[in-house]
Symmetry: C2
Subunit: 193 residues, 2 copies
DNA sequence: TTATTAGAACTAACCAGTCAGTACTAAACA
DNA sequence: TGTTTAGTACTGACTGGTTAGTTCTAATAA
């Protein structure tokens, strides 16, 4: 059931990632999904509502499919988890013919200045993402995986900031290099002496 | 002379930074600058041409007013230059009531996927920015300011990626903290043992 | 004279969003 | 059994407004 609604969600998710929220018109979503405009407004009260629903879904999916399976994988060592996390991010961005950037980072830059609903959701998600990294770093400092002369929270913040910036560079230079070489350097800088 | 042209350039520069290129209409630029539409198209053949000219000007201004005066200030030690650079970036973003993000990073995310002219200019600028950082790091490794067990180019790339990501976080969280604490951590990680 | 500016009317495409009405299904009723 | 009712999903035509860009005439400044 709700075949049209799911088609809209799937098409819009792709278009928002590739072109951004504001640069994607409702008509383009309609064209891609093959749904009529009136049906669209039967399922969603506005384009903004659709965008927020897609963002929420994407966050939940990312937490379950990426964060929990890499940074939260307790069967690996803390440094092994971080490496796995970087690998999955690299795979996500390398598989694209022309890199579309981080869905969350793109939206944060595009929407934070003009829409508080998007900004608040993204700010909260970045915080929780940071927390997941922090836990991994904290454990790695105990086990001796990582140097322990820094605050885990500060290191986690640095890792996430760097990741978002590196993905921006991947998109701008059309090359995976800034992410792969940057993540390797982060791993080296974090190694215990 | 060219009073109208300069007014257009100044108004559009601010609007592009605050709302982005695509989200700023020509009519809004006209309203802010007090120039008529026919006059606008007398000076610029299109909105895209205006955007590219503003980007070029902004790059040159940034290289002269920020990069050369901080990272290129040979009267300071290499680590002193890097600290000065971070200070000037922090000041730029802290002075804003609500942070608008990095003009170059914003534009890179907004335009890289849809306009090759913007993407190429931004990619080239990020490369040259990286080179300026690399020179400072390289010299700092010789003087003993920085640890020298890493390639200066790779470190420079990491610094720039992190900076852009941190500014994204400043914009999203509406707080300067990710940038100030991140830059401090970078300085610590780079210190010679 | 030549460069610049003003003004206003215009186009064609696009924008988000609305509307009255249709089609189908399934349960409730009599 | 046949009839009513209700909810869900859907449609095509439409509205009012905005977009970048054009075309004209006429005034003003260097």
């Amino acid at each position: 059931m709700n075949k049209s609604k799911e088609k809209i969600l799937a098409s819009a998710k792709e278009l928002f990632h590739e072109y951004g929220f504001q640069q994607t018109s409702v008509d383009e979503i309609l064209k891609k999904s093959g749904v009529t405009k009136s049906n669209f407004y039967y399922h969603f009260k506005s384009k903004e509502e659709l965008g927020l629903i897609i963002l929420e879904r994407f966050i939940k999916q990312y937490e379950a499919d990426v964060l929990m399976k890499t940074l939260g994988n307790k069967s690996l060592s803390p440094s092994g988890r971080l490496v796995e996390f970087y690998n999955s991010v690299k795979t996500f961005h390398r598989d694209l013919q022309n890199p579309k950037g981080c869905p969350f980072g793109n939206m944060a830059i595009e929407m934070s200045g003009s829409n508080e609903n998007f900004r608040e959701k993204l700010s909260a998600f970045f915080n929780s993402w940071e927390k997941v990294i922090e836990e991994c770093i904290n454990e790695g400092m105990s086990t001796g995986d990582f140097r322990s002369d820094l605050h885990p929270g500060v290191v986690a913040q640095l890792i996430l900031s760097h990741l978002e910036g590196a993905i921006m560079m991947v998109k701008t230079h059309r090359s995976i290099e800034p992410l792969s070489s940057g993540s390797e350097t982060i791993m080296r800088l974090l190694k215990a002496a």
